[in-house]
């Protein structure tokens, strides 16, 4: 295929300072097996005593070739792999991929499916923020927050299991709508969760917000200026904590987000504490959105009636020849998409999650590119960590909120 490449130490020389080569500073390997790198992230640290001079992230340990594999599967089959990218935001990954397909083939989605999509992605955002909060607090030595967060997260995973049959990898959202309608007890369960959850947010805040240890570990740590955030293409809570009120749910609404009343929380300090405050407020805003979506949840079908893309309901197969043909065609060959490209992005818990989808007049995508927020946001870790202590690096990895499945794809 190509000539064998030989890796020499010289190729890595430009990454460390002159002092490292003279032996003045220490090179330390952190990860890939390290509890507070939140997965398999390896950091090459250049240290002067305990302060970080340089931090070189090394990613790719979780690379599974999802983009390549998607090119070999039909559009619907490839949707199953989207859950495996960012495993804390599985519904969001399904959503952006299905939105891209719907844009590419110009497919409509009924209002009930749109509302359920919003409810589930917002619940998933809460679940993802809870994992972030729990592990972030755990890294800063607050054990009980972790246990409380996972208690509530489990309730959300139960709701997702109730709909899609699995806690995490449900692939519940499908092109043109949903896998099937939500069960009868869905509304009550979600309402019950909404009733208890706001008090639980107060509980987490009581443990952390005014906690002097937590404040010492997060205030003025990893300050990211507004200019740097934009230059490095940072999105999501990390951008909003640097004073930019940018949220794709407001800027370029999808799934009917324009109908719901919610705020974009921002902070101007740009440090780890500001990012904590933004995410905590986002938890409350997500509760507001779910509440509104539940209150005006429309009735009706949850799948598009366009039989060229969406398989007919099972009940029609026994009586309609046409339905049988559509069913057979869709589950064997799949549907074709035009030879053109679209880019669709949604606001994931971590930032802009985008899919660039290109068709080739055939039933399989020609190219699927995932613009994942963790990959882009992780690039600023060297910038954030310069001059801080090794112990603070743990807080910084937590505050960027990366998921390695999302970074490595």
């Amino acid at each position: 295929m190509s000539e064998t490449t030989e890796i020499t130490l010289n190729e890595l020389r430009h990454l460390v300072s002159e002092r490292a080569i003279e032996g003045d500073t220490v090179l330390l390997n952190m990860g890939p097996q390290h509890p507070s790198t939140h997965g398999v992230l390896r950091l090459l640290l250049e240290l002067d005593g305990e302060s970080v001079i340089n931090c070189i992230p090394d990613v790719g340990f979780l690379h599974t070739g999802i983009e390549k594999n998607m090119e070999a599967k039909t559009y619907v089959k490839a949707a199953v792999m989207t859950d495996r990218l960012d495993y804390l935001n599985t519904v969001g990954n399904n959503l952006v991929y299905c939105l891209a397909i719907e844009k590419l083939v110009d497919l409509d989605v009924p209002p009930r499916a749109q509302a359920i999509r919003v409810i589930l992605t917002e619940l998933q955002r809460i679940a993802s923020h809870l994992v972030w909060l729990g592990t972030h607090a755990l890294d800063l030595a607050a054990m009980s927050v972790f246990l409380y967060c996972f208690r509530e997260r489990e309730k959300i995973l139960d709701i997702i299991e109730m709909c899609g049959g699995q806690r995490m990898m449900a692939t519940y959202i499908r092109p043109g709508g949903l896998w099937r309608d939500v069960p009868v007890e869905f509304e009550d369960t979600v309402r019950q969760f909404l009733k208890i959850f706001p008090a639980r947010i107060d509980e987490y805040e009581a443990l952390l917000t005014k906690n002097p240890i937590f404040q010492d570990r997060t205030k003025k740590i990893g300050v990211l200026s507004r200019q740097d955030a934009i230059r490095w293409g940072i999105t999501g809570p990390t951008l909003r904590a640097s004073g930019v009120a940018h949220d794709l749910r407001k800027a370029q609404p999808y799934c009917g987000y324009e109908q719901y009343d919610f705020d974009i929380p921002t902070q101007t300090a740009g440090d780890t504490y500001a990012r904590y405050q933004v995410r905590m407020e986002e938890l409350r805003q997500s509760v507001r959105i779910v509440q509104q979506a539940l209150d005006k949840l429309p009735l009706g079908p949850v799948n598009s009636n366009n039989r060229k893309y969406v398989p007919p309901p099972r009940s029609e197969l026994g009586t309609s020849m046409e339905a049988l043909i559509h069913h057979f065609k869709l589950w064997t060959e799949g549907f074709s998409a035009p030879a053109a490209a679209v880019y669709v992005a949604v606001e994931s818990p971590r930032g802009e999650l985008g899919v660039y989808l290109e068709g080739n007049d055939g039933p399989k995508p020609h190219r699927v590119y995932w613009r994942t927020p963790s990959f882009v946001n992780l690039q600023i870790l060297p910038l954030l960590s310069k001059g801080h202590l090794v112990a603070d690096l743990v807080a910084l990895i937590g505050t960027v909120d990366i998921v390695l499945g999302d970074v490595d794809r």
Partner: protein
């Protein structure tokens, strides 16, 4: 089309002889490889496209002219607009200038494109593989790179497949 986007695309068309195409309300501009840095600088400084959302490539093998398209997904925070810039690249080992001087975040995107497609970026500060191991051979997202399953050998095609196996080369 939005008035600001119209002005931006028109200016690029006039200054750099770019081509404009539209699909489902999404605008893309096609420009030549050597112009990409100037085009993006003009879009950033004069028209407020201050963010590089993403950067990727598409392989059209077996076509060779152009074999690749580089795709730059630009976003303007102040105008809330998206614009795609596409750059056609010919041949099997193409290269083009890096965009790091305009958007620093291009650094990792370009490392990923080098890793996955084997497109070289001239003047890049740190062009190493990013996702694959450093000693990996080949560029996995190219269309002529096999997906990687083991082919089943039967008696009638045993030798034919055997000749293609990696150990056969040594």
């Amino acid at each position: 089309m939005d008035a600001h986007l119209q002005a931006a695309t028109q200016a690029i068309q006039e200054r750099f002889a770019g081509q404009v195409s539209e699909f489902r309300d999404q605008i893309s501009l096609i420009v030549a490889p050597q112009q990409i840095v100037e085009v993006c600088r003009a879009l950033k400084d004069d028209f407020g496209f201050d963010m590089l959302s993403g950067e990727t490539a598409v392989d059209y093998w077996p076509a060779q002219e152009p074999r690749f398209h580089l795709v730059y997904l630009l976003y303007s925070l102040q105008h809330n607009l998206r614009l795609t810039v596409r750059v056609p690249l010919n041949g099997n080992s193409p290269s083009l200038p890096t965009l790091e001087s305009v958007y620093p975040s291009a650094n990792w995107h370009e490392r990923e494109i080098w890793d996955m497609f084997g497109v070289r970026f001239e003047g890049h500060s740190d062009l190493r593989r990013i996702l694959m191991p450093a000693d990996w051979e080949g560029h996995p997202l190219r269309k002529d790179y096999p997906l990687g399953y083991e082919e089943v050998q039967f008696s009638f095609n045993y030798d034919e497949i055997d000749a293609r196996k990696p150990y056969a080369k040594e």
